[in-house]
């Protein structure tokens, strides 16, 4: 993708509301984008700028391409950055919270667990589980990395992760897991599934971020173009950390 000389490559979500909102951010920075060859194409450009290329990708692909330095800048959720990029702070920098795509990654247990309100309670339950049930406590989640990190910080190691490929919130009632770690924006899906969030069970408060890649090739004018973009956003009152960005540009 960055093969075309010294183009600044910006990755934007390829569909839906996120795409519209990301496009609005770029417009606010004075970079109106358009798709090449109709709406089904996955490449685009900034009107009137030959030095910038737009890549339309799924949000999780954006995180991956940022990690490997294939794109310079991307718009994606912090949850995906933290989940899919190993050692994310060393490979990307989150330079601006964008104020949309809000969602929390949370630990939720059956609301019938009236004895469990905190991670400390969960630690007790996890510790006695093997002796009582002949197996470890099971957690259904798509967020392996975030779950492992969060539980480790709370000193809990005695559990097993059950892979969940969708409808995670149904896993406890179906007997596939005891609790879940999942993303929620309004909490209504959890309530509908008789699950409650632990008091200290917010793993991550996520939203869409402007993310820059530390591994991308920042030579030949790309850093300058990115700097101009960030300064324009900052001028439009986006909370850009220019300092964090400069640390990447070198």
């Amino acid at each position: 993708m960055s093969g075309s000389g010294n183009c600044l490559v910006i990755a934007v979500p390829s569909k839906g509301r996120l795409q519209e909102q990301a496009a609005a951010v770029l417009t606010a920075a004075g970079l109106p984008i358009e798709k090449l060859g109709g709406s089904r194409n996955y490449r685009g450009r900034v009107i009137g700028r030959d030095d910038i290329e737009i890549a339309f990708l799924s949000a999780s692909e954006i995180a991956h391409e940022l990690a490997t330095g294939q794109v310079h800048i991307g718009v994606t959720g912090e949850d995906l950055v933290r989940e899919t990029i190993v050692d994310s702070d060393r490979r990307v920098s989150l330079v601006c919270r964008l104020g949309f795509g809000h969602a929390d990654v949370v630990v939720a247990v059956p609301d019938a667990w009236i004895d469990v309100h905190t991670m400390e309670d969960l630690d007790d339950v996890a510790a006695g589980f093997l002796a009582r049930h002949g197996r470890r406590l099971r957690i259904a989640t798509k967020y392996w990395t975030l779950t492992q990190g969060f539980f480790a910080r709370h000193g809990i190691a005695l559990y097993r992760i059950v892979e969940s490929l969708g409808a995670t919130e149904g896993a406890p009632a179906a007997g596939k897991a005891d609790l879940i770690v999942d993303i929620t924006s309004t909490g209504s899906t959890l309530v509908a599934n008789h699950l409650k969030i632990l008091q200290d069970g917010v793993v991550l408060r996520s939203e869409a971020n402007l993310v820059i890649s530390r591994g991308a090739d920042w030579s030949g004018g790309t850093a300058g173009a990115a700097r101009a973009l960030l300064e324009a956003l900052s001028g439009s009152h986006y909370p850009v950390s220019l300092q964090a960005a400069e640390a990447v540009f070198g």
Binding site: P110, H117, L130, R136, R138, G155, A173, G175
Partner: protein, 379 residues
Amino acid sequence: MPASGADFGVGEGRLKALFDAVGAEWLDLPVLHPADPFLETAGEDIRRRMFVTEGPTGERLALRPDFTIPVCLHHLAHAAAPRCYAYEGVVFRRHDTGSPERLETGYEDIGRASAPEVDAEILKLAVSGVSSLGAGDINVQVGDIALFTALLQALEIPPAWQRRLRRAFGLPARMAAHLARLSSPREGRPALDAELRKAAEAGDRDALTGALQARLAAQGYLDPGRSATEIAERYLDQQALTETRLSPRVIEALRAFLSLEAEVDRAADELNRFAQGAGVDLGPALEALAATAEAIGTGSPGVRIRFAAGFGRPLDYYTGLVFDVRAQNYPYPLAGGGRYDRLMQVLGAPASIPAIGFTIRLDEPSPVGAQAAGAGENA
């Protein structure tokens, strides 16, 4: 025979003479193992460090992250009588820096009744092993969670808190947080809805269980992992957890114990002095430690053995003595071991089987001097 991945012929490990002399059986273990036993025993935390792949029929396999569990599984499958085993080979774990491959050798003594003399014998064997590598002066650190367990009982701490504190043993930050909590308890729990509150307030176990059972069924739980009985029991017991506040005397005793350190031959005296001061009786646990310390003796020239009351490993299958062996020329412990009487049962043994063992690192040395000069990367 499975591929061993060992770079030696079976029975020709670097510590062959040492392990042969104590009658160890050399094991040639496969490199690939089912991943589940490692995850079931050490928990998900080890998953980040393990190399996991899939077998031909979709089963999850791991490059062995250690030898102890494969050795235990071998014993479980093949032996009824007590045995001791030796092994040498590469283990695979992701580390922040350095190679994920490490050459290790070790020894596991499985099925022999637990006794102070056995603990001392195994510790001395580990020290001999490290000595024979020519690693320079040796420092051994020894701890024993059985003493901490005895102290918690002697201080009459509520059982639910005893379990929490035991789990924090060997994790100083968590232990400190627990002790802070216990000096000033947390406020109460969120209110229950009307339906459950009546039974809960009356402390009526059966009524609360019944109400929870009805609720789980109404919510469509096919097979609730935690039953209504379990939830109701813990809810009622938990009152003790939230309301527990320990007296300053008890907190002080716990802190004093956890910071107690002494040369191993002075450990029993120091523990006695502590127990008298705190007004507690550490009973058989202290007698056992005194016997172990006596059997260890004063060590030998160039070997220093220190007891640290707060030293432990935060894994629930360790039950007694644990030790680390460090050597002058290495920035990391060269050997680690301990008594793990609960592991065999976790792995599927029908009854408890006593076991103790240790592992010694044999990978390329990363001497202290080189590390300081920035040349070494072997943490």
